[in-house]
Every structure is written in structure tokens, then in C-alpha cells.
Amino acid sequence: MTATLEIAPPQSPASVAVRLTDVHKSFGHGPQAVTALEGVDLRVGLGEFVCLLGASGCGKTTLLNLVAGLDEPSAGDVVTHTARPAVMFQEAALLPWLTAARNVELPLRLAGVRRDRRRAKASELLELVRLREVGDKRPHELSGGMRQRVALARALASTLGAADEDAPGLLLMDEPFAALDAITRDVLQAELLRIWRATGTAVLFVTHDVREAVRLGQRVVLLSSRPGRVVQEWPVDGLRGAEELAAVEEINARLREVISTHAAA
């Protein structure tokens, strides 16, 4: 766990956004069963930015699905102390028949928010991702980076704009920038950091890119593959320059080590 000592008791909902305790998840039954996660313990503090790192098959997506409530763990506990977690996928997955603004409004609509409140909230969130002017465009009229920002605004709407407005937010991101070109990815990473600071939402960010994880996260958690377990974690908050490079090197070395153990098996 983190090195910092907490004043509040560890179970206190006041400081924890998500806590996973000894979470197991397997798919299928009998001899064909596949264990995706085995005894994962993880804690994300309120407003904390945690990057989950791992090679393919480490159950990153499974873990996010459990936190999002899209799936149930086979054993163990997943406890969230936030508003409904928002999920962002690798694809923007905007609804092609709705305008950008309507896409952002959709989670508010599902939460039963009144129309004028919805409109106001959606344009506020589009403003946050600097896309206010394109609210009435359809997804096919936007670039990949713009679509992904609309998806971010929509995800924020589902965690920050719903009924329990004062509850802290939790944003789950499943390799959201992996499909973008390098320039756009770089800009969106900066954008995400800005929005994270502006909103104070907690972020659980899944990636297989060590540099991205170190740049964005306050903490990097490395998962092993098949089955997924927490191998090690590093505090990387505020690292710059040489320190940042050193952290990337170190985490990369450990990641390679973890991957190479699979060759023997």
C-alpha cells in the first residue's frame, strides 16, 4: 500500500474511493475455468489518480468491469464510496445517431435529470473538454481525439452529474488513448490531467504503456498476467525529468521480468 500514513481509519469512506479486498474472478466452470484475477487487493483514494499497468491477459479490463459493477467478483469484496463510476473505453463508442451534446446528456437523461438542467450540465462539460462549439455535431463529423473528449465528457456526466451530485466522482478508463495517434494522445493526456485537477474525481486508468502510466498517475500498480495479481506498486507523483525516466526504466524492467516468466510456463 502507499507509504503515507492515514489519519483516518483504513475503512473510512471519507478517504477511500474504491477498495478491492482479495478479489478473485474466474470465467467458466470445471477444468476449463479461466482465472482472470487472483487475490487482488487495491485501494484508490478519493481524488487519487492510479494507473493499472500490465501486459495482455492480466485481467485489467475484468478488474475495471468489477469496479464499474458490470460484472460480479467470484470471491472477495469490491466497495466503492463514490457516485456511480463512469467508464471510458478504448473506443469513444458514441451513439452515432445523437449529436455530441445529446451523447453527453444521455447519462443524465437515464438518471432522470430535468431537461434544462441536463442541457446546462452537458454544455458545461463540453466546455470543460473545450468542445462547446461542436455540441450539435454528430460523431462522424468529429476527429478521433474530439470523439474521445466527448466520451470523456459523457463519462464525467455519468459520475458527476447524476442525482447524488455531491458524491465524489470515480472515473474508470480502459486504455482510452490507445487507438489515437501520438500527437493527439499527448495532448489528451495533458487534457486529462487538467480535467482531473479541475474536477477532483478519482481516476483508475488502465494502460499497457509505462510512460503514459508514469506521466499520468500518482501511483502505478503493476499486475501480473494469467492470473492477474498485484505484483508491485510505485509512487510516481510529481516525478520529473531524470527521476521520471528512472521510474519508467525501473517499471519497464519489472514488467519485462513479469512477462518473461510466462515463457517458461
Binding site: V87, W97, V187
Partner: protein, 305 residues
């Protein structure tokens, strides 16, 4: 909301000391990467003209060939009448008001049959698409029914219901329902699997997911099914009217065609065929095409429509 660039990440690889700022870079990227807006093309009457001209030319060419074949007198008049003779039959029928009655009889039957088919096929399609046992049980049957010519149902319908409207509607329904059902099922199948997941992640329950995600996402396939369903309604109706002829059934286009055959009147036969075609094309152009075009355009799926 705090607009100023609170992020000029010192670690961000933007290079050099002259960082233009995140907002500016982003605005630049948006301008460069956003797809160019589709050109609107010509508007108004020019567009209508350029769309209508090629089919009109084809029609003129067709009539010209017909006229030439007739003039060459290769076939006797009762086998190949002159275009003008056919036109006169159609014109007469319209002038005497007979044609409108015939068209009304057939078209209102087809429309009612089609609407009933939509009401039946839509929940049925949802059921087949979303409930696995239903799908494995009757999915293949529905597809099979689509390839069964609905004219095959006419004898059964006449024996079951007698020579009346019920028999005709029965045939029309059996023609249209499988098409519409299949269209809806195909439309739902083609939904990218990420969309229902998004719905769940945004907090949609089963009903909301159907209402806000599944049905709109399936709309293009559903529309294609409706279009085909209409075509099948119309054909089935013609088949039924052609075979089941009776004074109680009134004079529809199919019966008009059948009379032409009974009287060995080739001009009336061809006139009837042209009218049947005219209704089919008219409904397609006036009802389905605009709706389909609008739906596809809104999704950026502008084809060659």
C-alpha cells in the same frame, strides 16, 4: 470553470520554451483532424433535375425500343400492342375514374396489411433477436418463410377463409411479417457490442437500454426490413388478387390484370403491369427513400442513395 491553461506540464514533451499552450494546440489539432464537412452539392430544383433526368432518359429509350419493335411488326398486334394503345387504355381508365377505384382497392389493402404486419412483426422480431430459445426455435423458420413465395398460401387461405378480404390479408401478412422480422433481427445483430456495454455503464436498465440504445441502433436494418416488407406486401397482394378473383372482393389491380388475360386484351395486361410497377416505385420514392436517406445521413452513412 477555470479556463486558463492550468496545465503546461513541465514534463510534457512539447519541446523548447515557447509552448503555445494546450488549448491552442488542441484547437489546432481539432481543425486539422476533423473530417471535412460533406459537400452539400447542388440544391433545390437543380438537384431534383439531376436526379430525375437519368431515369427519365432510360424510360424514353425503353419506349423508343418498344415502339421500334412494334413498328417492325415481328409479332401480331394482340401479342405486342403499341405503346400509344397501352397509354390510351391507362388514360381512359383514369378519365372515367375507374383507375382510381382500382388503385384505391389495392393500395388501401396493401397499406392496411403492411401496417398490421409491422405491428405483428416488431415485437416478434425483438423476441427472436433477444430471447435465445425463441431464436433457436423459430429463427430458421422465419428465414425459411421468407423464401416461400406467398402465392403458395393463396389456395390454403381461400379454403380456410373463403373468397373474402380475410383470405387476402392472410396472404399479405404471411408475405410481409417474415421480411420485417428478419430486418429487425439483422439490424439488432449488427449493433456493435460496445454500445449495449456503454448503455450499461451509463446506468441504463433493460428497458432503457432497448429504448435508448438497441432500437435506435437497429433502425437502419429495421428500415431495410420495412422496405422489403412493403415490397412483399405488395407482391403478395397482387398474387392473391390475381388468383382469388370474385365480385365480393371488388376490382383491384390484380383482378384488373386477370380480366385482361381472360379477355385476351394485351393492352389491358400491360397497362395493369405498368400500374402495379408505378405504385411500387411511387411508394418507394415518396415514403421510404426520404426516411432512409435522413436516417443514414444523420449517422454519416451516406451511400449512393
Amino acid at each position: 470553470m477555470p479556463r486558463p491553461d492550468l496545465v503546461n506540464e513541465p514534463g510534457a514533451p512539447t519541446g523548447g520554451g515557447r509552448d503555445p499552450g494546450l488549448a491552442a494546440v488542441e484547437a489546432g489539432l481539432d481543425a486539422l483532424d476533423a473530417p471535412a464537412p460533406a459537400s452539400q452539392g447542388r440544391r433545390g430544383w437543380r438537384r431534383t433535375l439531376s436526379a430525375a433526368l437519368p431515369p427519365l432518359l432510360a424510360l424514353v429509350a425503353f419506349v423508343a425500343v418498344w415502339q421500334a419493335l412494334w413498328a417492325s411488326a415481328l409479332w401480331p398486334e394482340y401479342k405486342l400492342p403499341a405503346p400509344l394503345a397501352v397509354w390510351n387504355v391507362v388514360w381512359e381508365a383514369f378519365r372515367e375514374g375507374e383507375a382510381l377505384g382500382i388503385l384505391w382497392t389495392s393500395v388501401h389493402r396493401a397499406v392496411i396489411g403492411f401496417l398490421v404486419a409491422v405491428v405483428v412483426a416488431t415485437p416478434f422480431g425483438l423476441l427472436v433477436a433477444r430471447v435465445r430459445p425463441v431464436r433457436s426455435a423459430i429463427g430458421p423458420l422465419v428465414t425459411g418463410l421468407q423464401s416461400l413465395p406467398s402465392v403458395a398460401w393463396v389456395p390454403a387461405a381461400v379454403l380456410w377463409f373463403g373468397l373474402n378480404d380475410a383470405a387476402i390479408y392472410f396472404v399479405v401478412l404471411l408475405g410481409a411479417v417474415p421480411s420485417i422480422t428478419n430486418g429487425l433481427v439483422a439490424g439488432i445483430e449488427q449493433i456493435p457490442p460496445i454500445l449495449p456495454r456503454v448503455g450499461a455503464a451509463l446506468g441504463a436498465n433493460r428497458w432503457e437500454s432497448a429504448r435508448h440504445i438497441l432500437l435506435p441502433a437497429a433502425l437502419p436494418g429495421y428500415l431495410a426490413g420495412l422496405k422489403q416488407g412493403w415490397a412483399f406486401s405488395w407482391r403478395s397482394l397482387m398474387a392473391a388478387e390475381l388468383i382469388a378473383v370474385s365480385p365480393q372482393l371488388g376490382l383491384g389491380l390484380g383482378a384488373f390484370l386477370q380480366h385482361g388475360q381472360a379477355l385476351s386484351d394485351m393492352t389491358q395486361v400491360i397497362a395493369a403491369i405498368l400500374l402495379i410497377l408505378l405504385v411500387g416505385i411511387g411508394v418507394e420514392l415518396l415514403a421510404f427513400r426520404p426516411v432512409e436517406r435522413r436516417v443514414l445521413r444523420a449517422r454519416g452513412l451516406v451511400g449512393v442513395l
